[in-house]
Structures are given as C-alpha cells and as structure tokens.
C-alpha cells in the first residue's frame, strides 16, 4: 500500500513539475510577445491565452505539487482535483476556440467550412494544456476511485 502511495505521489509530483514548467514557459513567451512552436507544441504569445492562461497552468502545477504528498488524504486529494479542474478549464477553452473557428467558412469563403478546412483546424500544434489533459483525467479518475473506496 505504502509503495503504491509513493508511486502515485511521484507520478503527481512529475505531472506538477511539468505543469509548472509549461505555465512558466507560457508566461515567459507571452512576455516576449511571439508565438513559439516546437513541433506539435505551440505556446501562445498573446497576453490573454499566454499570460493569464500561463498563470492558470502555473497555479494548476502548484496545486498538484501541494497535494501530491499523501493523496489518499481528502484535503490533499481536493488540491490535486482542483489542479486538474484548472487544466480542464484551459484545455476546454482551447478546444472550444478550435470548434468555433472550425465551423464558419471564413471572410470570403462559403457560409460553412469545407470538410478539409474543418478537420485542418484540429491538427497540431496544440497548446500545453491540451497535452496535460489526458494525465489530469487519469489523476481525477484515481482520486474519485479513492473517494468511493473511503
């Protein structure tokens, strides 16, 4: 049991560190004002998505780190859950923005986007929060399982 807890703690701590790094990268890049792309990863350079969004990703990482020790305890579990909720907010708003961009056909185009244009909107690169989304879901699944077992 103790070994399992240690493993979970290490996983959440790593996720926390990665999330903090992404948050800091978002803030620093947006301070520079340029969009930075690394293959399938894109860090937005605007003040809203990069600056405020980066701050939220940073907070999410700090929540993970502050709750990773003994995640079986309800108060720590709640901090980790909130960290995940912040990631969902960021990733959810990014995905929603993609959806709203993908539907209309553009200023001079037809009313609705073509199929290739529609699918093309969902192609990479993605913002950091989208990469963190699957991990945050796994973390919350684990926490909810713990809560049911309690």
């Amino acid at each position: 049991m103790a070994e399992k807890n240690n493993f979970v703690m290490i996983c959440i701590a790593i996720l926390g560190l990665v999330t903090v790094s992404f948050g800091l990268a978002d803030i620093l890049v947006s301070a520079g004002g340029d969009v930075t792309g690394l293959s399938i990863l894109e860090i937005p350079g605007d003040m809203f998505r990069g600056g405020w969004g980066g701050l939220i990703v940073l907070f999410a990482g700090l929540f993970y780190l502050s709750g990773c020790k003994n995640v079986a305890e309800v108060h720590n579990a709640s901090k980790v859950a909130i960290g995940s909720v912040l990631i969902w907010i960021m990733a959810g708003t990014d995905i929603f923005a993609m959806i709203t961009e993908s539907i209309p056909g553009g200023e001079d185009g037809p009313w609705f986007n073509s199929l290739s244009g529609f699918l093309g909107t969902y192609a990479p690169p993605y913002a950091p929060a989208i990469f963190l989304l699957p991990f945050s879901l796994v973390v919350v699944y684990y926490i909810l399982k713990q809560e049911r077992a309690r």
Partner: protein, 412 residues
C-alpha cells in the same frame, strides 16, 4: 393548546427523532473542494481561472463563431447592399436615417461598405442588436446562470467580501457587479440586495460609471479586440479607487453579512433554460428599442449639425484635457442613448491606439445609458442626482489622469 416548557422540549425531541439522522460526519471530497474555493490562497487562483473561462468562451462564441463567422457576412455581404440598392432616395435625409448616412467626397454621395459605418436604423441598428449584442448576451447570461446554479457565486461573494469592504460594500455586491456586465438595468435593481442606502448608492454609482454592459463588451471585442484588456484594467482600477473615495465621503453604515454557502451541485437544465430566457428576453425588450431609437436620434443630431456644433464647443476639453479628437463628441452624445453604438461610432474615427483606448474608457465612464438612467430614477431621485454629480467629477478627473498616464508613457 398551551404547552409548558417541559412539554415543548418533549415535542421538540419527538420531532427531532423523526427528522434528524445521527451518524459520524465524514469530510467528503466535495466539502474539501468547496473549502478550497473560499480560502483566499487557493480561491483566488480558482476565481482567476473561472473568469478566464468566462471571457474565453464569451469571445469564442460571440466574437469568432456568431458575429465574425456569420453575422458580419450576412449583414455586410447581403443585407446592407440589398437595402442600399432597393431603398429609394439615396442621399436624402430619410435614407441617411434608415439605411446609410454615408459620406460626401467631391460632392458625390459615397455609400458605406459595412454596417459599422452605415449608421442607419435598419443597417447598423439591426446589426448591433442582432449581430453583435444577441450572441454576446446569450452566452454571457448562460455562463452566469451556470455559475449561479452550480453554487459558485456565493463562494465568490465570500472570497471577495474583504476586498469589497474596503469600498464600503460586501461580498454580495458581486451579484450586481457581474449582472451589470450583462446589462446595467437589472443590475440597478439587484443593488436592493445591499442593506443600507450608503451601500446602494455606492454600488449604483460604481456600476453606472465603471462597468461596461455586455452589448458594449461585444462591440469592443469586435472593433478593438486588442484593447479590451486595457480598457477593463482602467475600469477595474477606477472602480476600486473611486469606490474607496466614496466609502470615505458618503455617510452611512456598511454592515457585515452572513452568507449561507450551499454545496456544489449539478445545474438543472430546465432552470437554466428558464433563467436564460427570462434574462435575454427582458434585456431585448429594453435594449432593442433603445438601439434603434439611438440610431434615429444620433442621425438626426448629425443631420441638423448639432454634433458638429457640440464638437467645436467641447474641442478644448476633448483635445486639451482628454487628449482625444474633437470628433469623439458625437459618440459621447450617442453614448447617452446606447454605449455600444457609441463604441461602434468611435471605431471609424481616425486616431492613435492610445486615443482609442482613452475614448472607449471615456464612453464607458461617461453618463449611464438612458435605460439605466431611468432605472436609477426609479430607485430615488436624490441618489440619481448624487450619482450624476459623482459621475461628472469622475469623468473629468479620470479622463485627465488617463491622458496624463499616456503622456508619461510617451504614447499619448
């Protein structure tokens, strides 16, 4: 039947034994998450994230999808050219008021090529009301209703209580403040949630001056997307500075509050639908007639030369003190009827980015729109006169300060 004290206690015990369940209390994950959202250290980051989500969804839905995606194309590409074509009397006064005020170049009447510039009742008026304001208001009230029904709003009230006490209000003032971001009219009514006259006066004054309505936000998002953040920053700073000053000079009490914070819960879709419909429909009953009437009045004022005269009269104040072009006098007059319309008018005046920022902030803090004005009058004429007096001072002082900041930064 009269009971003695012992019999009363027996009755209480009997009722309690039927309705109260005893057991060991277990702190659940839901409870712990609820606590985190009201503690400042953890609650503030969560509040920032919630507000981010609010504005991101607002911008994506209202701006990207509805207005830019479909309504601009519909109104600029089809509706405006069709009306310009079929409506008789091009260049005449009725044509200018209803369809397109246009412009004169070398004695020739030039038609506008988009609804922001046409200023006709059936073109700009309908575009603003349906193409810009409708999606903005629908998504704004949907998000607000969801936050209320999930149970986040009382937590936000607890979280912000300490800060709002510094300006003589308490946590529940967040309700009229956020409602006001949709429309100032229901927000003025919502100030009744505050206990004392002092609190109601401060709240009414601050929301009339410093809180832009959803319609105005929708237009700002459309015509000056890069400046919206800065405009809001200036307004938030002004909200707290002048709130602090009002708290010091307005006599009266600012009592504490006791809030019952409910558990987080899943919103019931039927309730969300009902609330959304109620809010959007009542907004439209108030807003649409004023948008259309605003177009008529402003066009008439332009046609009779009143705006030109006023611009010339106020030029020293506008150019010298506020640092904006004298042409902004027109939108400021229009702002009394509809602030959203005024921002749209500002967008076609040539000026620097900082001048645009100053002008939009001025339009926001300038006189409340006539619908809000009528609502404030209903709450009491003394309060209205007081608010207008404060407003005049604030516009003059804050407008000058913004100009000064621009000068110091070398951008004005």
């Amino acid at each position: 039947m009269k009971l003695n004290p012992d019999e009363r206690w027996d009755l209480i015990d009997s009722i309690a034994s039927h309705v109260v369940t005893y057991g060991e209390y277990r702190h659940t994950l839901k409870d712990a998450i609820g606590e985190l959202t009201v503690k400042p250290m953890t609650g503030i980051p969560i509040a920032i994230a919630v507000m981010y989500c609010f504005w991101s969804v607002f911008g994506s839905f209202a701006g990207t999808l509805c207005t830019d995606g479909f309504f601009v194309k519909l109104f600029d590409g089809y509706w405006l050219p069709w009306l310009q074509e079929v409506f008789p009397g091009k260049g005449g006064w009725l044509y200018s008021i209803l369809i397109d005020a246009g412009g004169m170049t070398n004695g020739e009447f030039i038609l506008s090529d988009n609804c922001f510039e046409a200023f006709g009742v059936l073109t700009s008026g309908l575009f603003v009301a349906i193409g810009v304001v409708l999606p903005a208001i629908v998504i704004f009230y949907l998000m607000l209703t969801l936050l209320e029904d999930i149970g986040y709003m009382p937590r936000l009230a607890v979280l912000i209580d300490t800060v709002l006490h510094k300006i003589g209000l308490h946590g529940y003032a967040i309700v009229p403040t956020i409602l006001s971001l949709g429309c100032n009219v229901p927000a003025v009514t919502a100030t009744r949630i505050l206990e004392t006259r002092k609190q109601r006066f401060i709240m009414m004054t601050l929301l009339a001056i410093f809180i832009p309505c959803g319609a105005q936000l929708g237009i700002m998002e459309e015509v000056i997307p890069g400046l919206v953040g800065y405009v809001l920053l200036y307004l938030v700073i002004g909200y707290f500075i002048f709130g602090f000053v009002l708290n010091k000079i307005v006599p009266g009490k600012s009592p504490e509050i006791l809030i019952d914070v409910p558990q987080y819960q899943k919103p019931m879709m039927a309730n969300v639908r009902r609330k959304l419909w109620m809010r959007v429909s009542s907004f439209f009953k108030v807003a649409v007639p004023f948008v259309l009437l605003g177009c008529v009045v402003v066009n008439v004022l332009y046609l009779v030369g009143f705006i030109q005269w006023l611009g010339d009269l106020l030029a020293p104040v506008f150019v010298g003190w506020f640092g904006v072009p004298k042409e902004t006098a027109g939108p400021l007059v229009a702002a009394f009827l509809r602030k959203d319309l005024a921002v749209a008018q500002l967008s076609v005046i040539e000026m620097t980015q900082y001048q645009m920022l100053s002008a939009v902030v001025l339009v926001s803090i300038y006189f409340p729109c006539v619908a809000t004005f009528a609502m404030m009058l209903k709450e009491g004429w003394k309060e209205l006169i007081g608010s207008v007096a404060v407003l005049a001072v604030v516009v003059f002082l804050y407008g000058g300060i913004i100009h000064l900041i621009g000068k110091l930064l070398g951008v004005a």
